[in-house]
Symmetry: C2
Subunit: 256 residues, 2 copies
């Protein structure tokens, strides 16, 4: 009796339209009108959800679309000149994957997108999106904003990875994730991490052992409650201090 139920679920997902999508304030321009939503809706295709580990697009495949995450989570990796993989980002519902590939000189995707859990996406064929953006200034503006946000997010990671200690990177990573969960109206203090320790480590430029050690240390400090991939922020104030490297403030408090 489970198979038919799953099929119904899938059908329900595929029938959904932008106009009644709970995420539309996140992935659509704020000022868009109903008729315009319809136009956007017409170019979007919703495929069957990807299983965990499923590949949404692969580095080197011809670039044809960007994707809005509906549910689940995606990681993107690009392979370095030396052959290792670098996790360039994580994408949660309401976020857009593939923006980095738009202007790739080769015309191909410049990274690989992999589902971290069962994940549903909306495909936005880029040619059509671009045409539509020419007609709808608010959509064009929104796309510029999205890409620009991606640039700023990458610059934040850059600065995180380049100038901060391992503790600060982990603390900041968790707080950023928490803010993104909050934005999509989920609990901001009880996070379920869709990615492995190894993915986190790779993304933050750390060894996976370091990530593991720091999470347990934060737990011992009663800043977090960690249970595998479930992480609860128990002391947000302290976590923010850790993110900023305010060792002394905490020390002062402790012997006050």
């Amino acid at each position: 009796m489970e198979i038919p139920r799953r099929h119904n679920l899938i059908r329900a997902l595929r029938q959904t339209h932008c106009s009644d999508c709970a995420l539309n304030p996140v992935c659509l321009p704020p000022a868009i009108e109903d008729g315009e939503i319809q136009q956007l809706d017409d170019i979007i295709s919703r495929n069957r959800p990807l299983a965990r580990g499923g590949v949404l697009f692969h580095e080197g495949m011809p670039f044809d679309a960007v994707f809005a995450v509906r549910s689940g989570a995606i990681k993107t990796c690009s392979s370095t000149p030396t052959g290792e993989e670098q996790v360039t980002g994580f994408y949660l519902p309401g976020e857009i994957v593939g923006l980095d590939s738009i202007g790739n000189p080769s015309g191909n995707y410049g990274s690989t997108a992999i589902a971290l859990e069962t994940t549903a996406v909306c495909a936005l064929p880029f040619d059509a999106l671009q045409d539509l953006a020419g007609k709808l200034p608010s959509l064009q503006h929104h796309l510029f904003r999205l890409m620009s946000s991606e640039i700023r997010a990458d610059q934040q990671i850059m600065q995180l990875v380049g100038r901060r200690t391992a503790d600060e990177r982990i603390a900041t990573f968790l707080l950023t994730l928490s803010a993104r969960y909050k934005r999509r109206h989920l609990s901001e203090n009880h996070l379920h991490l869709p990615m492995s320790r190894s993915d986190i480590a790779n993304h933050l430029g750390l060894a996976l052992e370091t990530v593991s050690r720091i999470l347990t240390r934060f737990q011992n400090m009663e800043v977090l409650k960690v249970n595998g991939r479930d992480v609860e922020i128990a002391n947000r104030q302290r976590l923010m201090e850790l993110a900023n490297g305010d060792q002394e403030i905490a020390a002062c408090n402790s012997h006050a």
Copy 2:
């Protein structure tokens, strides 16, 4: 007799148009037509060159334009939550500065742009640029490509800073710079670095002493000839190996 001469120079710069700018293959869409160039030209303003250290825009100022570098060089920095500065990028002639600020929620510039030497820029007021992009699909596409390239560049830095040794970072940085010089038809083997050691270090997530030490070591290895900010690539093959961390290849060669 120098003042008038400089004034003439400045006037010459300001009178220049996109149509006869040597950089236009780099900063304009490849398929643009003459009439369209004229439209673009009309919205561009060319200000008097910035002196070294001059601020093009400052973090927190209202965002109104992006800038094409005509000559000289620009660095962008953003200040971290803890107050330090992070050098997020360097911009050479033909490159566009300010793309990261387009979608800043506050509507302000999200970083500060500073001239590393005497620098001339073209200002592209963003409202007008956006309107024009709505009319000229090739311009819209070009802007998407530029932003997407910026994302990829940042991701490369991310991976450089997160996963590579100091040697690899410096080697890769020099090679990337060399490629950019080549693209603008300058010598690819004799580089003049417009930025200080400290800027390089900051950008690559290193201490400035480390940068200095590595440059002298590369010089001792006869890979580079370094003289202050003049750097000559003496053994490109070897530099590429260093960029990829092929320690063994070199070691093998040496006792062959």
